[in-house]
């Protein structure tokens, strides 16, 4: 019976305790670096980058129209309201396209039919840059790339616009 009682010797007891305490300490030290290492995986993409552009899907026509909306931009601890603009229209395949109005040449703001000599084109007042209705730059004018496109989404019948991306086709 006495053998049964002494199943855990003093040496074993100390071993177990030390291993346990050491394990806790190691875990405590490791947990923050591990959390940091796997952080990118845990970050969820909330899609919060999309903002209400303030136009109903049904109001978008084949004629490009300029829309302005504001987004809250957080820059570190500094939060500010930034105005964004886009030209939106419905293309021949009945898809909605939203172009960034920033000229790909030197960054002026282009406008649809901004020059009477060039109907059905986007026109940049700075250096006569032009783009066709599908956003592709007119060869021979200063811009060398088509207009950038906004990522878009429909929510409750309203148009939501997100990040600016390079034009895919052409």
């Amino acid at each position: 019976m006495s053998d049964e009682k002494r199943q855990v010797s003093r040496r074993q007891f100390l071993n177990y305790t030390l291993t346990g305490v050491g394990g806790f300490m190691a875990a405590g030290l490791l947990i923050s670096p591990v959390r940091m290492a796997i952080d990118p995986v845990l970050k969820h993409d909330e899609g919060g980058d999309f903002a209400n552009a303030g136009i109903a899907i049904d109001d978008i026509t084949a004629d490009p129209q300029r829309i302005d909306w504001t987004i809250d931009q957080v820059d570190g601890w500094y939060e500010s309201e930034v105005t964004r603009s886009a030209w939106v229209y419905r293309n021949d395949d009945d898809e909605i396209v939203a172009f960034s109005p920033i000229c790909k040449h030197l960054g002026c703001v282009v406008s649809w039919e901004g020059n009477d000599d060039y109907p059905d084109q986007y026109y940049c007042p700075c250096h006569d840059g032009r783009y066709y209705k599908n956003g592709v730059n007119v060869p021979g004018t200063p811009p060398l790339q088509p207009l950038d496109v906004y990522e878009q989404e429909e929510r409750d019948g309203m148009l939501f616009l997100g990040k600016i991306q390079p034009h895919e086709e052409a």
Binding site: D68, T83, C103, H105, L106, G107, C108, V109, C124, P125, C126, H127, P142
Partner: protein
């Protein structure tokens, strides 16, 4: 383009395209409350407005730092100094130097200036709500853009 290191680098690579300098002119004083406060408000609006203008036409204009002067100063002295600025810009070379201001007293001596003077009617934004301010600034910007285009 603005007068920042980032924009100056861009300017350096595209000098031949950026041929216009915009210089906002703003009077200031610290004295009689009413007049000083008015100058201060106008200074704010002018800053806001010139930034909008720059955003719209950034590929062809360089926005210079605001030229400030004491409201009661002798204008003929200011003209000399301002022409010094203009000569400095034209050496770059910039082809056009445009001054924008809410101060109508420049009008009388505008012919002595070596750049073009554009007077803007004052927009009172004091009591307007932020959305309305945006609209007013935007309207005035677009009209001034049209005016600037006529110089090109």
């Amino acid at each position: 383009m603005k007068w920042t290191s980032v924009d100056l680098q861009k300017y350096d690579q595209a000098k031949e395209y950026i041929d216009t300098v915009i210089v906002p002119l703003a009077p200031f004083q610290i004295g009689i409350l009413e007049a000083s406060a008015k100058n201060a408000d106008q200074y704010d609006i002018l800053t806001l407005f010139s930034r909008e203008l720059e955003k719209e036409l950034m590929g062809r204009i360089m926005l210079a730092p605001t030229y400030t002067y004491i409201a009661a100063a002798e204008k003929s002295e200011e003209v000399k100094r301002l022409n010094g600025w203009t000569n400095h810009f034209k050496k770059q070379p910039f082809k056009q130097v445009l001054y924008i201001s809410f101060d109508p007293s420049w009008r009388k001596i505008a012919s002595d200036l070596e750049g073009e003077f554009i007077w803007l009617p004052t927009a009172s934004l004091k009591d307007a709500d932020p959305a309305a301010v945006k609209g007013i600034i935007r309207d005035q910007t677009m009209q001034t853009v049209e005016l600037i285009k006529s110089f090109w």
